[in-house]
Amino acid sequence: MISIRSLRKRYGGVDALSDCDLEIAGPGIYGLIGPNGAGKTTLFDVITGLTEPDSGSVLVEGRDVTGLSPHRLAKLGIARSFQECRVFPEFSCLENLLFGARGTRDEALRLLELVNLHGYRDEPAAELSFGQRRLLEIVATFMLKPRILLLDEPASGVNPALLELLLEFIRRMYDERPCLFLVVEHNMEFVMALAAEIIVMHQGAVLERGTPEAVQASPRVMEAYLG
């Protein structure tokens, strides 16, 4: 479904991506973990066209999409959320969901209900707490009906009560419409509970991949995290 081939991206003297290869064949929820600076967000930025790689390629279902602009990649069904949580602050929650959406208003209302934001549907997103904004951002990505969904630290800044809701919501969305979910996350408990397979990045390349149990037991992963 998605092939990353020898991607390189250098910022100043730092290799954010260093001959990164990654092959994900089909639908599923994949966790993407790694220490800070491992290249996870840069990989997302390259896949979604926000950053142009120095070399290498990104193939989606066999088609080379390297260097396409973000809006064209979005039209191809690649959606994402952002590490720093991005919503349109002046738009209401409902308007946020409907912007660029492929789903209907009724679907948007149902999704808002699933994450307990139904009561805020007409409120500007700026009025929400950070955790609620994060939920709104993630819910909005599902309204794009993506083929590939990249979630960048969805649990970051979300309190434990909302975290459980978020976990259930993502699982439910996957059950309803299975596609490829790639989730960058530092909250290990969250990502291990969510993903069927974990991919570990270190120093700009894939270090390890496997089931959550196998990855947690890997000495190479331990070393990468603990140094």
Partner: protein, 312 residues
Amino acid sequence: MPARIALALLLAALFLFPFIAEKQPYLLHVLILCCLYAIPAVGLNLMLGYTGLVSLGHMAFAGVGAYTAAVLMVDARLGFWLALLAGVLAAGAAGAAIGAICLRFRTHFFMIVTLAFGLMLYSVMNNWDEVTRGAAGFPGIPRPAPLGGFTFGPLPNFYYLALAAAATAFAVQWLVVRSEFGRVLVALRQDERLAQAKGVNAMLYKTAIFALGSAIAGLGGVLHVSFLRVAAPATFSLAESINAVLIVIVGGAGSLAGPALGALVFVGLPEYLRVAAEWRLVVFGILLVLIMLFAPRGLAGLAAHAWARVRA
């Protein structure tokens, strides 16, 4: 509904104004200038207020429209209405071409590039003597040709033309803001990256609004030089572009009525304060500071706040 009634009353008052102020042609003159400044401000409001594009060369596009029409009317003997259309189209085309370059830059870099293009266009108007008549100005620009027996020579008649043109610009603004296109512009102002991630071709939308804003400025430019009967480069200088930005911000960037309120304050007030001679600019400056301090959303925001309190 109350807003519609207020709008109808305002339009009625503006329509009847020449009859009320029959013996005060100066007041009518000032009101015409308010309309002529409000028109380019509407174009800039769409760019700055709704899309977040702060252009510091906006009035240069009014100049492109004005000089295009002037050359066509005086040198090529084209009728006013066709020259007006050509001026608007030329300003829009210049906006699209120059916008496509400027919009590759963001934030303050964008502002500096628009400023640079504004200065370049001003230089052309000021120095290309064979075509623009240079710094001395382009004289002999005619008033609009009569329409159905209605001439535009007398001041009250030109007032109705300026009012109709301003109303058209505001109607275009209203239509844009209400449309899906306008919604995308507002999204781009809030978060361009997010809008792109949702499938918006940011460059296309921003170039389109840059072109439309410039075309509206062109409309104002043509009418301005037709009213004054002369096109002078100073009318389209950097100072005038900064004035246009101030009109939008003081009036209320991103509000439908903002350009009208801004133009009234910016053009009307200094004229009204002429009695205070040398103090007028000081008084005006203090007023601007006070507006920025106590009404960051401009006069339109202040009016909306007051209206909400009355309703409560």
